[in-house]
């Protein structure tokens, strides 16, 4: 038997409801505004074919410009003999270096694309785990809230029981402390209502 009371579920206050609704709205706003941005960022981690071609073209173009400048310099230094002897060999070596430079530039673009993707994936992995970690914190918060509510309810039950028992105890204490007065009460009852409480007591004695 338990005389403990209290509601089965503790209803949230208006303030708690408002706070929770505000938080839920912000969650939904995040879903609608920022999640698409995240998706867009994730999609751009892998460069498109066009983007790669553009980057490779830019790298090749830069090297080619430098190569042309070198070639023009050699031709100018040859005093009109650009197709002769040392000049033509110098231009040939410039061409060889240019080929290597362009090849390294294109290879560098390919590696840079991989590097960018890996850095982006690192960032997303961290963000993703941050979300997961936040989720864990939220789980802990939820558990804490639930436990706090349960503990508070227990405390309230105990307090209510204590007050009921205290009332009964007070009544009993009062009675025990006033046996003499009880005899007087019984006499009055017998006289007024014709009962025989005094007689019962005398029979027992």
């Amino acid at each position: 038997m338990s005389l403990g009371g209290g509601p089965k579920k503790i209803e949230p206050t208006e303030q708690e409801r408002a706070l929770a609704e505000s938080a839920a709205k912000r969650h939904n706003e995040h879903q609608e505004v920022f999640v698409p941005l995240e998706d867009s960022f994730i999609a751009s981690l892998t460069a498109s074919k066009g983007e790669m071609e553009e980057n490779r073209g830019a790298a090749v173009s830069d090297v080619s410009q430098a190569l042309k400048g070198n070639d023009a310099g050699i031709a100018a230094a040859s005093r009109g003999q650009a197709g002769q002897g040392k000049s033509v060999m110098a231009r040939g070596m410039n061409s060889i270096s240019g080929g290597t430079a362009r090849g390294e530039a294109v290879a560098g673009v390919n590696l840079a694309e991989r590097s960018r993707k890996m850095k982006g994936l690192q960032k997303m992995s961290a963000f993703g785990r941050g979300l997961q970690d936040m989720s864990n914190v939220s789980m802990a918060d939820a558990a804490r809230t639930a436990s706090g509510a349960a503990i508070n309810k227990l405390n309230v039950d105990v307090q209510k029981q204590n007050s009921k028992f205290a009332a009964v105890g007070t009544l009993a204490g009062t009675a025990l402390g006033n046996i003499g007065s009880m005899d007087s009460l019984k006499g009055q009852l017998d006289n007024k209502f014709g009962t025989n409480f005094q007689g019962l007591k005398e029979e027992k004695q």
């Binding site: 999609a43 197709g83 231009r91 060889i96 890996m118 993703g128 989720s135 809230t145 006033n178």
Partner: protein
């Protein structure tokens, strides 16, 4: 909102409806449970695959990238050789046999040296990046582990607190029942004495 719409391409997809929280009439604990589930779902659907892809990339040896770099170098050397020939032809310059042999030798030596060089550099760079990414992933893993310890510690403390409160409540209940029984008995006794 307008910014996001302007920025995004039409094919970009937004959140699934299941990740939106229904807050009408729900109490805070229900909503929090919904958010927790939505966040878990979000991680599983969008971020876990990226994590797996990154882990897969960190295991690449770099050979594929090195071979690709060497091939690119060969293609660009060929383009360069052809461009040089066209340039000479356009300006009416003809190389003699000695010049041709000398340039051909230089080109061959350069190609071999640079091909080996670009392959080695590419492997080294891939390895460096793999190590950096692996280190980053290890850091993320350590943070995850710390989070696990923190959450388990919290859960254990909460459970211990609830059990203690329950034990106290039971003890109080028992004591008060005994006291009440004694009091009622005493009251009855007083009445009939």
């Amino acid at each position: 909102m307008a910014f996001a719409e302007d920025f995004l391409k039409p094919e970009d997809t937004g959140p699934t409806k299941s990740n939106l929280i229904d807050y009408a009439g729900n109490d805070p604990q229900d909503m929090q449970a919904q958010v927790i589930r939505a966040q878990d779902r979000d991680y599983e659907e969008r971020f876990a695959p990226l994590e797996k892809e990154l882990i897969g990339m960190t295991k690449e040896s770099g050979n594929k990238q090195a071979n690709r770099a060497a091939k690119t170098l060969g293609q660009q050397n060929k383009i360069s050789r052809q461009a040089f020939k066209r340039d000479l032809s356009r300006t009416g310059v003809a190389l003699n046999q000695r010049q041709k042999a000398s340039l051909s030798k230089a080109r061959g030596l350069d190609a071999a040296r640079n091909q080996a060089n670009v392959e080695n550099l590419t492997r080294r760079r891939v390895k460096d990046e793999n190590m950096q990414s692996t280190a980053s992933l290890i850091g993320i893993g350590r943070n995850v582990q710390q989070g696990v310890n923190r959450d388990l510690s919290t859960a254990s403390s909460l459970q211990a607190g609830r059990e203690a409160a329950n034990a106290n409540a039971k003890a109080a209940d028992s004591a008060q029942k005994s006291q009440m029984a004694a009091s009622v008995a005493g009251l009855a006794l007083a009445f009939f004495l």
